[in-house]
């Protein structure tokens, strides 16, 4: 299962999810794309399902217990969808226990790849979904707002993991303090927090390092126009390593392409309408890379 987040809205998360899904399904893999954005569902449009009959909202509202029954076919062979339309605006997000239930049901879906398209922001619900994998994907666009939010997202995802990993109440409290960007202890980055915790409690420090090593977010830069934009992925990787102590993996980039916009307008994946466009080729390259990494992912999920 691959959660895809990024903090900022409008960077092309749904576009990337729809096209990576379509790309992998064209290669013969069975893919389920899940729209996890109950408050701003649009993945269905990107994969060419104009009016979904059922939606994740039915599971959240407990109208349907079998997640498998909410799977919809798309016009693309091997690609299925769980939409997120028609949610309840007052209680869109599932309760914590319902979320655990949902995560388990998602893991049990019968597919080679399950993509989970997350909403914007770093709300608890979004971060919980991102937690299903240590290797979730973050989509970033080469613009300051997106990069800032992406760092916020990485930090939030890591601190959340960390808070769960810490055994002592006091250390959990320090992590919570550090989560506030303007905290009075002056902790700005995960590395600074590590130093603090290592001094206070070495065994918690060891747990910290273990959590840090396991967390390996993956990065896609979308809407790339220049060589500088391409390098942005490497630069973010370097900053994550040097300032956060977090190893991110740069999965690849998708270049700016007019046909991408046209495909969204046509309400179909780019891979499907313009398979020979530049952006489609870059997406296929990322899909192949996921596949190469997925050799271990498959054996992981294969036992379910």
């Amino acid at each position: 299962m691959i959660p895809v987040g990024g903090g900022k809205g409008g960077v092309g998360k749904s576009f990337v999810v729809a096209n990576l899904s379509a790309s992998l399904s064209r290669m013969g893999h069975r893919v389920v794309a899940v729209d996890g954005d109950l408050e701003g569902a649009n993945l269905h449009t990107c994969v060419g399902v104009p009016r979904p009959r059922t939606s994740l909202a039915d599971f959240v509202a407990q109208r349907e217990e079998d997640l498998g029954k909410l799977i919809l076919d798309t016009p693309i062979r091997n690609l299925q969808l769980i939409a997120a339309t028609d949610g309840n605006f007052i209680a869109a997000q599932p309760t914590q226990s319902r979320r655990v239930h949902l995560m388990r049901a998602l893991r049990e879906l019968d597919a080679d790849f399950v993509f989970l398209d997350l909403g914007a922001g770093t709300h608890a619900a979004v971060m919980d979904y991102f937690m299903v994998s240590d290797e979730g994907v973050i989509v970033v666009a080469p613009e300051p707002t997106s990069v800032e939010n992406a760092y916020g997202f990485v930090r939030a995802a890591f601190y959340r993991r960390l808070r769960l990993a810490m055994a002592s109440h006091d250390m959990r409290k320090i992590v919570t303090i550090a989560m506030d960007q303007r905290n009075e202890r002056g902790i700005r980055t995960p590395l600074e927090l590590l130093r603090e915790i290592q001094t206070l409690d070495p065994s918690e420090g060891a747990r910290f390092v273990e959590t840090m090593r396991a967390f390996r977010p993956r990065l896609i830069v979308n809407d790339v126009r220049t060589a500088e934009d391409i390098k942005l992925g490497f630069s973010i990787q370097s900053v994550c390593r040097k300032f956060f102590g977090i190893e991110a993996e740069y999965l690849g980039y998708v270049n700016h392409d007019e046909s991408a916009r046209l495909s969204v307008r046509a309400r179909r994946p780019l891979i499907d309408v313009y398979p020979r466009s530049d952006a489609a080729i870059y997406i296929a390259r990322i899909a192949r890379k996921l596949l190469a990494n997925g050799a271990t992912g498959e054996s992981r999920e294969g036992s379910n």
Binding site: R99, V100, M103, R104, M127, D128, M131, V132, D134, E135, P142, E143, P144, V147, E148, Y151, R160, R163, L164, A165, A167, R172, R188, T189, L191, R195, V209, T211, M212, A214, R216, A227, E228, K231, G233, F234, S235, I236, Q237, S238, V239, R241, K242, F243, G245, E247, Y250, G252, Y253, R285, K289, A292, N293, T296, G297, S299, R300, E301, S303, N304
Partner: protein, 213 residues
């Protein structure tokens, strides 16, 4: 995860000790761009002086590594350090782009271990239980609320402080409830965990036996 002050020149440039001259050149140019004051990737993370201090380190690293003789002298001093505090499991991954292309290589570091962790079969120890708890987004207290088991015991289970846990029959029940709560097959997990518990308590009994003689 060494602080910047302890990183060697190769780590500062994020390249490997076997890098070619061209690779060092590329790494240097990328590092300069990344740590420029107005760098898109950095401005929101750097605070006053961060970038300037790093640039100084980068320049120094480049000055030495780009000069054949200075580099081999430096490498000689590094040999000792490397054996002392560079664990072999932490290679400094060379991740500098190759002219407009992405480096295709993906580092397989720790992926094998993670695969073992996420699989729901296999043996279960405290660390794996914790892994599944975290993956489910649950705190110890959440599990305690559902299972009515004290947080202290739940923590001992994760930390495998077997000596501090009550009689096996209780521990088995605790682990079953814990596992069910994080979405695992309780019975299976408990059976696996109890093997470790029993092994340990046998060891401890033997120890006591010898002590008392």
């Amino acid at each position: 995860m060494k602080p910047l002050s302890e990183q060697n020149h190769y780590e500062i440039l994020e390249t490997r000790p076997t890098a070619t001259k061209a690779e060092i050149e590329r790494a240097y140019r990328l590092a300069l761009a990344t740590y420029a004051d107005d760098s898109l990737a950095g401005y929101s993370v750097f605070s006053d002086g961060d970038a300037a201090a790093l640039r100084e380190r980068i320049e120094m690293a480049y000055r030495i590594l780009s000069d054949g003789r200075m580099r081999s002298d430096y490498d000689a001093t590094l040999e000792i350090d490397r054996e002392a505090d560079l664990p072999p499991s932490e290679p400094s991954a060379p991740l500098v782009p190759v002219e407009g292309e992405l480096a295709e290589s993906t580092s397989p570091l720790e992926v094998a271990g993670a695969a073992h962790l996420d699989d729901e079969s296999g043996d279960f120890d405290g660390a794996r239980l914790r892994h599944f708890r975290i993956r489910g987004g649950l705190e110890i207290d959440d599990i305690s609320r559902v299972t009515k088991i004290s947080p202290t015991y739940l923590r001992y289970i994760e930390e495998e402080r077997f000596a501090d846990l009550p009689a096996p029959v209780y521990v088995r029940g605790f682990v079953t409830a814990y596992a069910n709560c994080v979405g695992l097959e309780g019975k299976y997990v408990a059976a696996s965990y109890m093997k470790r518990f029993d092994q340990d308590s046998r060891g401890r009994r033997k120890g006591r036996f010898f002590e008392s003689r």
